[in-house]
Subunit: 167 residues, 2 copies
């Protein structure tokens, strides 16, 4: 069977990929975090084609990531703002920026700096932490079935390579 949609995967990563697995969508989210709200500003700041922008904004609204509201009553212009679900993509965006800072631009050539407003110090490198707060490498972690695991999830786990198996 060849799939064209990820919707039927019982997998959290697949569901998130369905929402933001598109390069323009990620840039639109960046703009939304920068405070951009109008179609024309998104378009100007990103230089993206109207049809693409319109399609991606609609998809973000459909997935509950952005909220659309008329600029003023009776006017056919809208503002787009991050919902609580949208704001929860913040760590994802920061991990992506930090990845490129390390692997594309390299130390000393980072275009942007994300800072704690209170101290104006750069934020920490985002990572996966154990309960006690120490950072974990992928090899120090393993996957197991969650409370919502079904037959498909269990099959996926059985096919994990022994080093990754939660057994």
């Amino acid at each position: 069977m060849t799939r064209t949609s990820l919707k039927e995967f019982n997998c959290s990563l697949a569901q998130a990929a369905e929402v933001i697995g598109d390069k323009w969508t990620l840039l639109i989210l960046r703009e939304a975090f920068f405070g951009t709200t109008s179609f024309s500003e998104f378009r100007k700041n990103l230089g993206v084609a109207k049809t693409v922008l319109s399609d991606r904004l609609q998809s973000l609204v459909d997935h509950g990531v952005l909220e659309r509201a008329p600029t003023r009553p009776g006017v056919d212009r809208y503002t787009y703002r991050l919902t609580a679900a949208g704001r929860d993509f913040f760590p994802t965006l920061i991990t992506l920026m930090q990845w490129s800072d390390k692997w594309v631009f390299g130390p000393g050539s980072e275009p942007f700096c994300v800072m704690d407003k209170e101290t104006m110090s750069p934020v920490q490198q985002v990572g996966v932490q154990a309960r006690d707060g120490h950072f974990l490498t992928p090899r120090e972690t393993t996957f197991g079935p969650g409370p919502g695991a079904n037959e498909e999830t269990r099959e996926a786990l059985v096919s994990l390579k022994p080093g990754n198996r939660a057994l």
Copy 2:
């Protein structure tokens, strides 16, 4: 000007989006973290069309995220393994899983569980932290020019909404 590529953006997020801003790419990365290495295993586990899989694997190799090596000398079959750069997408993938666990599946219905191998406790919620370790919301952070900022970066920062401005 309408852009079709993100390559010329002096922005870390755009560069990362160019590498993994595609839904199948994210799923292929998931599989790579699960320990999948061969074309046929990727295909079987994801149910993705051959042409799509082949294109996405090539792109990940081109971007230095996966490393391709012949299965055995003289054989026209390859294995694909995460490079150090590829393993550095681990926090990104975990943030995406955690996003869906919260917003798509909901507490108590998470398909997978990511655990610290040593203690078998679930990993922490990944977030953006200040120097002293406390978690920051997007509103508690701000963006400023990094050492590699250019004219374009500075313009983007000037257009930030006042609440987000590093001034």
